[in-house]
Symmetry: C2
């Protein structure tokens, strides 16, 4: 079956493969473009993230929270002890501060979202263990 | 000439025509969808704005600043005493606080952007005079 190739991203720049210190917190390849760099005069941080099919990040926590704006593809968002939520272009996820969660692409689809840091002064993300392979495999 | 009809918006919801208290600050029809309402737990405000061809807002000021993420169409952004900047999908505009500016569609194109309020606690937008018709007409 032909899969829609979103490898050149949708709308916002695709950027480069994740830098080394972040890469270890992901399974598979993810591309990162800083849309609004944290050192901008507005002191605001927005990234564009492009996940290849099957790519997802490990469980993690944002002390200040995060907002995801999905611009393309199909993927998943899951909070600890809740069912995973399927995501498509146009979906918005409000991630509260201090809530353990992960997000990433579906097995068979690229997945692209903007990620907006909320209250980044609360501190950097705290990275935890990978999503269990059998749990990810159960998702469509 | 056929114009690309983006009237049903691109990616994020189109929403409804601007409510009455805002409408007087625009020339032409603009549609508004609150993507993240300001009363959300994250205390964050993101709107999707869809301008019909020729629609633009009046000169105005955001005390805390604003970020525009362009998702479709063609439009313009201008700060006082600077040339207008043409905008297309994928463009990002960082609007500093207290800077007088306007934005809107090109004459012949729908125009869609997300608008993120920066530091909304600094206060609401201050609305000023319309863009001069002859200045807008000179833009392509």
């Amino acid at each position: 079956m032909m899969k829609l190739d979103l490898s050149n991203s949708a709308i916002f720049p695709k950027g480069e493969p994740l830098p080394e210190p972040l890469r270890k917190n992901f399974v598979g390849q993810c591309y990162l473009a800083m849309i609004v760099p944290g050192n901008s005069p507005l002191e605001f941080l927005i990234a564009n993230e492009t996940f290849e099919p099957g790519c997802r990040n490990n469980w993690h926590i944002h002390p200040g929270g995060q907002i995801l704006l999905v611009t393309g593809g199909r993927g998943w968002y899951q909070e600890k002890r809740k069912p995973a939520r399927e995501l498509h272009a146009g979906d918005v996820v409000e991630i509260p501060g201090r809530v353990k969660h992960w997000h990433g692409a579906a097995k068979d689809s690229w997945f692209i979202h903007l990620a907006i840091e909320v209250n980044p002064k609360a501190g950097p993300a705290k990275w935890l263990e990978p999503v269990k392979q059998e749990d990810y495999k159960m998702l469509g």
